[in-house]
């Protein structure tokens, strides 16, 4: 998503040329390209698929909507397995229209995971609950902190459900370092993503994630915390940023790799 202006073949070629060993994919471009074909493309380039984004949106109250969400998540799990990644990232969903009950929304998220976790486990796919920044609590994700995400994940086996540690969403939280340690101890850090926090935020607050080093986040400190928690998996950089999307994708990818070395390695 950081360089969504690139086609999948351009992306895999640019990653391979830079020595980036893996790539996180999103469902929409994968489906457009064909899931099997995308799997082969990435494999042939010598890359790993680090994660698939995204499942989730579990908070519907309406039974038909809920059934549709579960079916879509099973499809996402199947796609992840086809791509050869062990991790499906979940954006859990916010408040349904007219609802003001966040605790109930969180319980519906846990209920949905109860139905999906065994299905994922059978296919070798781990579900990774991503706590999203509290500014998304109403409309995208009722799970706002790493602690909350862990409280839900720990109801299930670690090989089925874990969490995403994304600096953009948790950097402000003084409880997050302890939650990182707890997640690591339980083997539940299923993905680690980097983005910087820059202000002012754009309208809608979706596409203002900062290039590494441009913002307020001490990225290296977070990388060291996640290291210290025992995490040895891939580190993704996930930037939603209109200014980066308007530039040459290969150049942005190269800049991002350099910034990673400079600010996080």
């Amino acid at each position: 998503m950081t360089v969504k202006q690139l086609t999948l073949p351009e992306l895999t070629q640019a990653c391979a040329a830079l020595g980036v060993p893996g790539v996180g994919l999103w469902r929409e471009p994968v489906r457009e390209y064909g899931t099997e074909a995308a799997a082969k493309l990435v494999r042939d380039a010598g890359l790993a698929v680090t994660t698939l984004c995204r499942g989730g949106f579990f908070t519907a109250i309406d039974r038909a909507e809920r059934a549709q969400a579960l079916a879509d998540n099973r499809a996402a799990i199947d796609e992840a397995a086809t791509l050869g990644t062990d991790t499906l990232v979940l954006v859990s969903g916010g408040l349904p229209p007219g609802s003001r009950d966040l605790p109930a929304a969180r319980e519906r998220i846990a209920d949905a995971l109860g139905e999906l976790a065994p299905y994922a486990g059978e296919r070798g796919v781990r579900l990774a609950i991503e706590p999203l920044h509290p500014m998304y609590a109403a409309d995208r994700c009722a799970v706002s902190t790493l602690t909350q995400a862990l409280d839900i994940a720990e109801r299930f086996p670690a090989e089925q459900v874990g969490v995403v540690v994304d600096t953009y969403h948790i950097w402000w939280d003084d409880q997050a370092p302890a939650a990182v340690a707890r997640a690591g101890e339980g083997g539940r850090i299923h993905s680690f993503q980097l983005a910087d926090w820059t202000t002012p935020l754009p309208a809608g607050v979706l596409n203002g994630r900062g290039q590494l080093g441009d913002g307020a986040v001490d990225l290296r400190a977070w990388r060291e915390r996640v290291d210290a928690a025992g995490y040895t998996g891939p580190i993704e950089v996930e930037l939603f940023n209109d200014a980066l999307w308007a530039r040459d994708g290969a150049e942005v990818l190269s800049e991002t790799a350099a910034r990673y070395v400079q600010h996080a390695l």
Copy 2:
């Protein structure tokens, strides 16, 4: 600030006409009108000044900037005393340019309070730390949760330092209800403010606070929690909203009072 389009005389007249018994004031319009004159104006209208907004911005590293901030806060305390309010609301400040160290910023906030709290106490003014939504952590307030605000406030006597409970900033936080109870038990709820959470957020995320009832916050549940915590002080409605500011101020005030009754009383 909800109806900043009104002059102070228009505001006090409109409040008195509606039966609103008190009003929170901001320093800038008070200074323009004259602090003594404003105090007389509000008193003559039979209104209480519920709070003065705002002191704070304590996070400068530079010694001269820090000294200036402390001097400005002493002036704000004096103004609060002149206005006859017992509460000065604090927006504590974010990261200084180039810094990525939130814990250090929080310690500088506590240090500044150590210098200001006795000064405030001598003048009968309580300092109220307002935790701001985490989306403001970088640029406005490194204190992002009610728990953090209490952790700092509790270093000082309750009659000198407490907290602001503002639904806009804490509604998403599953730890906040317990923090409200803790704050009430310690006599540290020095202000209670209502605003609703509406999306999409505007660019800069400052002026999108929702009119009561328009958004995701269960306002009555928060009012009941604050009640249950033993709070008996004034309840303020603080909306920063471009659309409300563009309308007739007296009409907005009247609408806001009606919404309060409908959604929070």
